[in-house]
Amino acid sequence: MTNQSSTQDYQSDRESAAGAPTLRAVVGSHRIEEEMFGKVFDPQIIKRIGFFVKPYRREFIISVVAVLIFTVTQLMIPMIIRYAIDWGVIPGNIGLLHAALIVFAVVISINYGASHVQETVVGKAAENVLFDIRRAMFAHLQDVSLSFMDKTEVGRLMSRLQGDVGSMQEFLETSVLSVGDIVLLFGIITLMLYLDVQLGLITLSVMPVLFIARIFWLPMAREAFIKAHETNSAVNGALAEGIHAVRTVQGMGREALNARLYGDKVMANLGTNLWASKIAQVLVPVVDTMTGFAMALVVVLGGAKLLGHTLDVGVMVAFLFFIQRFFDPIRSLTIQYSVMQRAMASGQRLIEVLDVDVSVKDRPDAVDIGETDGSVEFRDVTFGYDKQQMVLKDLSFRVEPGQTVALVGPTGSGKSSAMSLIHRFYDVTEGQILVGGHDVRDVTQASLGRQIAMVLQEPFLFTGSVLENIRYNKEDATREQIIAAATVLGADPFIRALPQGYDTVLGERGGSLSTGQRQLLSFARALVADAKILVLDEATASIDSATEQMIQRALAILLKGRTGLVIAHRLATVRNADKIMVLQAGRLVESGTHAELISNGGLYAGLYRANYASFDDVEAPA
């Protein structure tokens, strides 16, 4: 569905300029907005979210009690004024006036206390629930299968962890208040009828009008609001793109055209926002007029009844007070209605994340792998990310302890998949993988992880100091060990040249470092992790010759005394391996030493002779 809508949008962009030469230009990408509103009430979602509320049940009960007390005291205030006037002021009974005032003082103190308790308790509890939900999701994401992570954009997950969690918080906070609103609404109605049935019924007749007006208005307002929201994010997206791409924009001289295109987006956004503002205001005269109408009714009818001595003047005053509060609960209840719908849509998405399958789990009887010899064996391994398409077929090989094996083959030959299986990122479809003689599915993932260190193709650095990045989760690694590792690999000189040496905080993704330097740091991280087996996906990015030599040297040190499985792209790496395995379309087609394979004259020899810079960039032969 997503692809379709973006294509349609794109085509309409093109067709709009039919006749004239096509202007192939847009600013900002077309992002598909997510459903903002869901069902009002979904018991399934409420139940799941309820799970997170449970630990704070006490807090929420206290809040509801407090909000009830608060609402009752609010309702009492006009009543006290009524009695102060009718029993104290009008008959001239100063004692009763003072009594009423004492009650008033007590009521407002309770009101103060109740509102304090309610807002503090619910405010904090809602924050807690929100942080708990986020933590549960984040923790779950640490365990879900990598195939889910592979196909899910980080941005999407982030908006679950931020935006969707945020709207749950809003919902929790206001849901307590809406209990108060309902009580307030019924309280006003009851008290008005209690004070004077006739007058009450007549003035309350405007209330349905207000309700109906609000209900008709709501869908319109929502549509306008969504439109404004969408154009807003389009404008923001275009600005972000303009900032990220500024060098390309200037190099290609697109400033003027982009400013025009951006201007179009900004103006479209102005249109939707003005419309939304208009819609937002359209009910104000209705509400004010209806309120005025109710007050006018009280004046005329109340006056008439007063004349007939069937009504006290204080009752009239109380009525006027209540009428002014009429619309408040109606307004907040309809707002709450939207909040609930938004929360249900968000809740749905949160649950989806929480329910993502954890396909790779420790077996209940999984054991600690203990110390191993570092051998790796594939036995008839068949594997596919989905059932239809197998990426590896009947793959069998054994890597002896301390041996270095280079895997080569065209893109899509299954090298990376095979490497991921050793660490049990995924489970094999058929066959088995043995590490140190243990089937990887029989041991705990944590203990397996300690046997294997991995260096990924793209060195990934975290925000933090160089030291922290090398240490990563090997928390017992001392500063000396880390420096020693960096020194052995030849990274020490450039690290020392950084402003604060090993304590230099790296920018986003280590942006301040060169590609080669980032690679050396990720080598150092693997060296500090000090595992029996090293799985390494060599970087393809081109680096200058001097750095390349340094990397090669570092690689040799890293591999020393370990079992090494290297997805190799560089000739030097391939040649230095004890054994080369050539993969094609998921099968092992040949293996042996460089010399053996060259003399065999197979795929490897062909690739080698074709003089490719990297075996990886070769388009897979059909």
Binding site: F138, T248, G251, L257, F293, S545, D617
Partner: protein, 598 residues
Amino acid sequence: MAIADAHTVRGGLRTLWRMTRIALMTPWQVTFAVGATLISATMQLIIPRLLGRAIDQTQLLAAGTLDATNALWTTAWAVLAVSFVRGVFTTFQNYFSEAVNHHTGVELRLRYYEQVQRLSFGFHDSVHSGDLITLGLLDLDGARQFFSTGLVRLVLLTVLIGFGGTMLLQIDWQLGLMALSFVPVVGWFSSVSQLRLRLTWRDLQDRMSVLSRVMEENLAGIRVVRAFSAGAHEMTKFDAASANALGLAHERVDIRVRSTGIMTLSFLAAMGLVLWVGGEKVMAGHMSVGTLTSFLTFMTILQMPVRQLGLLVNSFARTSTCGARVFAFLDLQPAIADGPKAKDLVLGDAELRFDGVDFAYPNAPEAKVLTGLTFTAKRGETIGIIGPPGSGKSTLAHLIPRFYDVTAGRIMVDGQDIRAVTLASLRRAVSVVAQDVFLFTTSLENNIAYAEPLAEDEAIEEVSSDAQIHSHITGLKSGYRTVVGERGSSLSGGQRQRMAIARSLLPKPSVLVFDDSTAAVDANTEARIRTALVEGASDRVTLIIAHRLNSLLHADRILFLDKGRVVEQGSHAELLALGGRYRALYDLQTSGADREGL
């Protein structure tokens, strides 16, 4: 970031005045908004008086001193009419002030976007792009709402509190003082809490962004996390960041609750006071019940606006800080811009000349990156540039389209100093293919046609063929209309570089610079690109910057750069024969590789 906050009062006032001037660019909306505010506020003040009068009339009726019920009807009609008028003008007030906000937003956004595009590389090197986005989204949004949250609210509150208060004091100064006694208390607490919330808000954003960063890095680097079985480690990081943010979030709840509680209490206490003293006055016959009622209803009307005093204070504070940051950015002058007498570049023989060029980056003026660089390249020539990292190769490429200006010396294109011609005409004539390719999230054809959005299909296909990307694109399901980055259509590093080459070829530049832009392209494909480019090469100057020697073996001349100076130059054969740095590099790259063809 090179953008300073204006902390002085004068600076703050100047910012507010500039925001006001932008609002005044829509004079009609401003007039309507202010006019409607005056009317709606006046109407609000009338209602309590009418209600008071109604009560008095009923009292008189009951006492039989007023014999016609007509008076009550008149009052009732008046209540209805005034409510209606108030509603209509409140709508106008809100709508037009929102409209002014939106127009202000449009104006600021357009200026902001243009400024982003106008400021030169030197500036963009010195700021974090995330900061620019925050400034352009959050700060700009904070500032653009000044009209409604600041100015209109000021008018409203002045009328309600000023006129309303005066009215009450005139009726009965004692009771008036009591009725108004909650105003300073509420105003103070609401202002203090708003300002404190504002201060902690920035802090909370910072803490939340640490939390977001932890989550984002974890998700983006999930393979590293899994590879090192670092789930527990990551949860510890998460919990620390989370607890840090949660603590402040709780603190903010306390700040908010503390003030709202006191505000409500002081309001209700004042009401009780009015009831007490007013009630006794009525009993003593000094005041009518109606007047007491209008005091009480007036207070309920005043309650909400007075609570907004804090928002008003906050609006002024926010506008002066956010606005100051936005204006400071908008006021920056680009380091590189067209001179007053700049003419369009006149294309001639396509000759590129570096003439004693020195260069140092603006942020490190002492560290010379290029020194005395002199060379000439004629039409049809291909110049190869090689050298160790940091030798100034890329810098040289960035000087030709004036991404930076030379510190000394000059660069001439077709005999014209590039600083004397317009930037637009220069950059049309010069294309630099960068190593890091930015592709836009739009169709492949839009990306290729980036510099020439009106290009024909044939032209796009031709440059794509030259760049050896055409067959890949036609193999995709949606072909040239495939949107970059959509699922299943992600491009490899080499393909991205080929896209960039196609994009740069389209405008037929006179000077074409490849800045290490085939690094991820395999050697055979690179050779095919080279062959395809031979045809157009006779019309232009081609510069090839590379690490890999076989990318520039075919160049007419090769410059070996070291520490910003040309240390060797000549053809491949000449440089080999010279037996210097180039030779050493050649030996290094071919060492052990018994591969033919190098």
